[in-house]
Symmetry: C2
Subunit: 147 residues, 2 copies
């Protein structure tokens, strides 16, 4: 189990890969982001994107799944107060395989709650052509080992 | 249909309400954010949150649904390059009813692509007790009417 003290600025973590299928893209968008270019192949083709693309929130959610599976599941996370920036750099399309990694930007102990602290991470998600599709800076709270 | 020219800084839009059910919270988290306090009632109860809470990405996705249904469906949106800040202020719990609104912060014409521009919005999501649960600044691209 990794605690706050086990992270240092500059550390990087590979977060693995995930495939994006047509059905997942459309299902997510119908539920949460039913804009025509996310749910309809023809509308996507006629849009500036030249095809159906995934909701940006779907891409963030897929990144979160990689993050939980490959890093947070073995850490003492206490949730997140927020995100400092998201950039959806290139469209994510059905059939893409996304690969994520993260780098520790800053580790900060809480002044008011000495049993915990926050870590700012930079997240990088790329497609199968190694093109960046998502860049994000997020904050997460972690428990201290406190030994 | 609303185009870039139809938005001015200071305009506000009510984005309606949405209910958050236990099953939706767990289904979303199992798919995208399987941290114990998002998928397991007992783990949630023992966490610092004192109960099961929704993934922050679920809250963002629910906000997006309200935004599409109540504003973007009648605008010439061209997708989004990103988000400048997200703050998950208070936990969202099963049974909550969320209510969203948005305010136009800035309207900017594109220099390189005269047929479009970007709008920065502030988003505010509150629960049934009028407590803010999510604050966000997001950017969206819109087509100009170009008459």
């Amino acid at each position: 189990m990794m605690y706050l003290e086990d992270f240092q600025p500059g550390q990087t973590f590979d977060l693995g890969s995930i495939e994006v299928t047509h059905d997942q893209v459309v299902d997510f968008a119908k539920q949460f982001d039913p804009q025509p270019f996310h749910i309809d192949v023809d509308a996507g083709g006629q849009s500036i994107f030249g095809g159906l693309i995934a909701s940006g929130w779907h891409t963030c959610s897929l990144m979160m799944r990689m993050l939980v599976d490959n890093l947070f599941s073995r850490t003492a996370t206490l949730g997140s107060p927020g995100v400092n920036q998201i950039r959806w750099i290139l469209p994510v399309r059905p059939g893409d395989t996304l690969h994520a990694s993260t780098r520790v930007l800053a580790v900060t102990s809480s002044v008011s709650k000495p049993d915990r602290g926050t870590i700012e991470f930079h997240y990088d998600v790329r497609n199968q052509n190694d093109e960046p599709v998502l860049a994000m800076q997020g904050i997460s709270m972690f428990r201290r080992r406190g030994d």
